[in-house]
């Protein structure tokens, strides 16, 4: 949090020194050396702890990786996992309150008042405006009553005052991640904070925070042309699976999520078996592991929740979305592909690398350099998640004077080349070399390593897969690439979305605006 890139001057300098900063992890291809540094332990409640000793400086970073994200939001409650993530910073029964016993009673009243208000609000017929107003007032009053017991942001304050750096959390469709870095002498304090908030979340100031999250939606989605487009793109590409649902939440749904629902989500998904906590840095596993075990045993046990049964049915009709508005043109298309567990997973990586990685990539050379029709052009995958079957997407940003239709044709030409001719030996070798080097570079710091270890432990049941995946990369052949391209990149499996730029209506609208 002290990296004030936007408020201080560091910004203009940092861009130029990228190359000088990146390199400080362990010799990663040496899996053995990592095995000596890493200790794992599965607690009786099912929670997995990973400690990686890297005593380069007296600091550590951690990631808590929860195997639940917005894909798990119940029907009608899109945005719930993300909403819960925000709640996890509001404190516990011990931190953030002046009197939890009294606060608990007050919070129950908030829920009752909200339920009464919502029941009236949602009445299909016979809603009484006067009663609605009274119920709303009662709801606001109940929140004010509960607020009396709140010490706002105390959880984060204690973390920050103890040197937390880069404190944040992210909710994706597949998972929720919490993370920060700290001086190593705060390890136990961190363990107390983190285990407490995982085990003992209080739905404090929930309804104010809901407003905050809706502002986040306005920023990321509503007020951003590409944000609006990608939400529609995914909603069109998927007919059954939750990957098609707005991950930050549809406005009507996220605005009616209740604290009760958030706590139910917590109870179901924040169980030991769903959580991996990794710590990387100046930590001695011998003394730290028993201490962490003591704290993280507080997390409730319970079975890993059942997996989703919905499988996206095979697409058989090409679909498209066209947004006509006054913003600049954009084009994206996607093809359904299997999940990360598919044996061809590394083949998709190869396609992405060859099509998109750097100035040597096919799409850059063709659309940007030779045809000079696009400012950017890339393919990427998996999108929007990786746990379940997802998309392989391609996008291009037209240069002035060029259209989405031209992007589409040019992308299809490049895809056809993949289907009809083998990639070159040089391209395939480049992919493999870069995969190996990127793995090394990607683990360049404590936080990156903590994230990766927790994620691989969750997804493969073993962090070693982080290194072993290079075997799959090495096995990719030219025939694999051609086969997969022919299977997946077909019109009936395609969804596209574009922004077609409209001319401004007339001059009338644009003269200063505010009354």
């Amino acid at each position: 949090m002290h990296n004030r890139a936007s408020l201080w001057f560091w910004k203009s300098f940092s861009l130029m020194l990228l190359a000088a900063t990146a390199l400080t992890a362990a010799r990663a291809q040496d899996l053995k050396s990592f095995e000596q540094k890493i200790t794992t332990k599965v607690l009786p409640n099912g929670l997995t702890l990973i400690i990686c000793e890297r005593p380069e400086a007296p600091v550590f970073s951690y990631t808590t990786f929860v195997d639940a994200g917005d894909v798990n939001d119940p029907s009608g409650e899109s945005g719930l996992a993300h909403m819960f993530e925000h709640l996890a910073f509001k404190g516990t029964s011990e931190i953030g309150t002046t009197d939890y016993a009294a606060e608990k009673v007050a919070l129950e009243k908030v829920e009752q008042a909200n339920n009464a208000y919502e029941a009236e609000y949602l009445k299909p017929v016979g809603r009484d405006p006067k009663k609605l107003e009274e119920l709303h007032k009662a709801f606001v009053d109940a929140q004010a009553e509960a607020h009396k017991y709140v010490i706002p942001n105390q959880f984060t304050e204690v973390a920050d005052a103890n040197g937390a750096n880069g404190l944040n959390a992210e909710t994706g469709l597949d998972s929720t991640q919490f993370y920060w870095s700290m001086p190593e002498n705060r390890l136990e304090l961190w363990a107390w904070l983190e285990s407490s908030r995982l085990a003992d979340t209080v739905a404090r100031e929930f309804y104010k925070e809901r407003d905050v999250v809706i502002e986040e939606r306005r920023m990321r989605t509503d007020s951003d042309p590409v944000g609006r487009l990608t939400e529609q793109f995914l909603a069109t590409a998927y007919v059954a699976h939750n990957y098609g649902r707005s991950s930050i939440g549809w406005p009507s749904e996220v605005s009616q999520i209740t604290a009760t629902e958030a706590l139910a989500f917590h109870k179901k998904y924040y169980v030991g078996g769903d959580i991996v906590v990794s710590v990387v840095g100046d930590v001695d596993a011998k003394t730290a592991m028993p201490m962490l075990e003591k704290y993280f045993s507080k997390v409730p046990g319970g079975p890993k929740p059942e997996d989703m049964t919905t499988v996206e049915p095979k697409q058989f009709a090409e679909k498209s979305v066209v947004i006509r508005e006054q913003t600049q043109p954009f084009y994206i298309e996607g093809y359904h592909r299997p999940s990360y567990r598919d044996p061809d997973d590394a083949v998709y990586d190869a396609i992405q690398d060859i099509m998109s990685n750097g100035r040597v990539s096919r799409m850059y050379r063709s659309l940007v350099e030779q045809q000079q029709i696009a400012a950017e052009a890339e393919g990427f995958s998996p999108y929007p998640g990786d746990k379940y079957p997802s998309l392989f997407a391609f996008y291009a940003v037209p240069l002035p004077g060029h259209t989405p239709a031209e992007m589409r044709d040019a992308i299809h030409k490049e895809i056809d080349k993949l289907k009809t001719a083998d990639v070159t030996d040089a391209e395939l070798a480049m992919f493999k070399t870069r995969a190996r080097a990127d793995l090394l570079r990607g683990l360049a710091d404590n936080q990156g390593l903590a994230n990766a270890l927790a994620e691989y432990q969750t997804r493969y049941g073993d962090w070693r897969e982080l290194f072993l995946q290079l075997d799959a990369v090495d096995k990719v052949t030219k025939a694999d690439i051609r086969r997969v391209a022919n299977q997946v990149f077909v019109a009936s499996n395609r969804t596209s979305a574009e922004i077609d730029t409209e001319a401004p209506a007339t001059a009338a609208k644009n003269d200063g605006g505010a009354q």
Binding site: L23, N153, Q372
Partner: protein, 490 residues
């Protein structure tokens, strides 16, 4: 293989607005504070490894930072002079230069061939330009390091700028220009800086289709020749033998003529004309509000005190802005603010809040009240302590990797600050008192000198901006001037 998904994760905080904290909380009695009973042992001793500094006879400075953890070697040459020093009528020159330099390549190897050579080795050489400097940087696996170094030096000393690649860069830049009004936050940031520094200031002038169209190959060549005469700073880090590396760098740079000192700049800024400025954008449902004034520069001895004041006002979760506008009022996801203190010119004061159209006035007033409140709601000992704890306890993240230490040293060298700047800055932070921050608030917080910029949807902003009672609302025209399409006209 798993990769980070783009466009997907929503996070707790908007990265750009953050820093850290302190609080105005009315601390009532709390049952118990179990975290206060957790022992905090003495921090392990730590002496960050400093790079070796070598000053060549011609004035060029070299830093060598050994780091044997990974089999990579990386380096950079930092070159004084950037966009602020370039010809006003050719705004955007440095961006074009930064792109075309690398994509053009050298007399021995053109840019495309260089791409093939490097990517086959998972290596990189990049060039770039900025407001006050340009740079070439490189990195590669250790085994390829000699070849990559030679190639980077070839690019530094024998570039061959190509008309085709300049045109490509111009197209890319043109795409950015015509798209810039699609990005609400981008508009707000850009126009806020213009209000502070002036629209034609070297720090804010924008590349336009007309100005980038004027840039020629001769301009790029002339810039290159000119900037190479300055005091170059070479930084190398990674898995190398220091004796051999020093010899190599000396061989590359010792033959250059004595460096020429850069002419000192005399930037003076009037600051914004107070008032309310408005940019109407009809496809958004959230306003970006910027409250702006002048900041200071890093030579000012008040900078450590201002850093603490920033922490109290707009740093992070515990800051007054966050506590009030986000947590208590629920009016914003992104809210923050503080002083900028660049190394060699006066910075800005900026507070920003992003709020739904209808609450624009409320959120602006609430933010303004917190700025004003630094003078009217006395800062408490408790706030001071937390602000200082936040800054001091995380201070070591400024030098917890060898790379960060090297970056810092290069930066201090570039701007002419002493090598122990971080230490003296830290010592000064420790000494900041309540009287200091209170006095700094008096001296630097002048709400009547601030301007308010709102980017938002005029038809939804109700009550309107007149309700701010700060006089007439000044519309700001951000229309992009479109000359005849470059190339298309003839």
């Amino acid at each position: 293989m798993k990769k980070l998904n783009r466009f997907s994760a929503a996070s707790l905080l908007a990265g750009a607005l953050l820093s850290s904290l302190a609080t105005p909380a009315l601390l009532c009695a709390q049952q118990s504070k179990p975290w206060e009973h957790i022992p905090i042992p003495k921090l392990h001793a730590f002496n960050p490894q400093q790079p070796k500094r070598i000053e060549l006879k011609n004035g060029i400075v070299v830093f060598l930072q050994e780091d044997h953890e990974l089999p990579f070697i990386s380096g950079s040459v930092l070159i004084p002079g950037g966009e602020r020093d370039a010809d006003t009528s050719k705004a955007g020159l440095i961006d074009l230069y930064g792109q075309a330099w690398r994509t053009s390549g050298t007399t021995k190897m053109d840019g495309d061939a260089m791409d093939d050579f490097l990517e086959a080795r998972a290596a990189h050489i990049e060039t770039g330009g900025d407001i006050d400097s340009t740079a070439v940087s490189w990195d590669s696996l250790k085994g390829d390091a000699d070849q990559v170094f030679d190639l980077a030096m070839d690019l530094l000393f024998h570039p061959k700028f190509s008309a085709e690649k300049l045109q490509l860069a111009q197209q890319q830049e043109a795409a950015e220009i015509v798209r810039r009004n699609d990005d609400e936050a981008g508009i707000a940031g850009r126009e806020a800086e213009k209000l502070i520094y002036g629209a034609n200031s070297p720090y804010t002038r924008q590349p336009e289709l007309a100005t980038i169209g004027k840039v020629t190959l001769a301009d790029l060549e002339a810039w290159h020749d000119r900037s190479l005469k300055g005091k170059l700073i070479v930084g190398i880090s990674g898995d190398f033998d220091p004796v051999a590396m020093e010899a190599k760098v000396r061989a590359a740079f010792e033959g250059l003529p004595q460096v020429e000192a850069a002419a000192p700049r005399h930037d003076e800024f009037a600051g914004p004309t107070p008032g309310v400025y408005f940019i109407d954008k009809n496809d958004v449902n959230q306003s970006n509000v910027e409250i702006v004034g002048l900041g200071t520069d890093r030579h000012n001895p008040d900078v450590p005190t201002l850093a603490v004041l920033d922490e109290i006002l707009g740093g992070g979760f515990g800051s007054r802005l966050f506590q009030k506008v986000r947590t208590e009022l629920g009016l914003a996801y992104a809210v923050g603010g503080g002083f900028g203190a660049p190394y060699d010119h006066q910075g800005t004061f900026r507070a920003e809040v992003l709020t739904k159209s209808a609450s624009t006035v409320d959120a602006t007033k609430a933010t303004m009240a917190e700025i004003d409140g630094l003078n009217t709601k006395p800062i408490t000992e408790d706030e001071l302590k937390r602000a200082k704890d936040n800054i001091l306890n995380s201070f070591l993240f400024r030098y917890d990797t060898k790379g960060k230490v090297l970056d810092e040293r290069e930066k201090l060298e570039f701007y002419g600050y002493p090598a122990d700047y971080l230490e003296t800055y830290h010592a000064a932070l420790e000494k900041v008192t309540l009287a200091d921050v209170t006095a700094a608030a008096k001296k630097y917080i002048h709400p009547e000198k601030l301007a308010i910029l709102v980017v938002g949807n005029g038809s939804e902003i109700k009550p309107g901006l007149d309700d701010l009672k700060m006089g007439a609302v000044h519309p700001v025209d951000i229309t992009i001037s479109m000359p005849a399409q470059p190339g298309a006209a003839k």
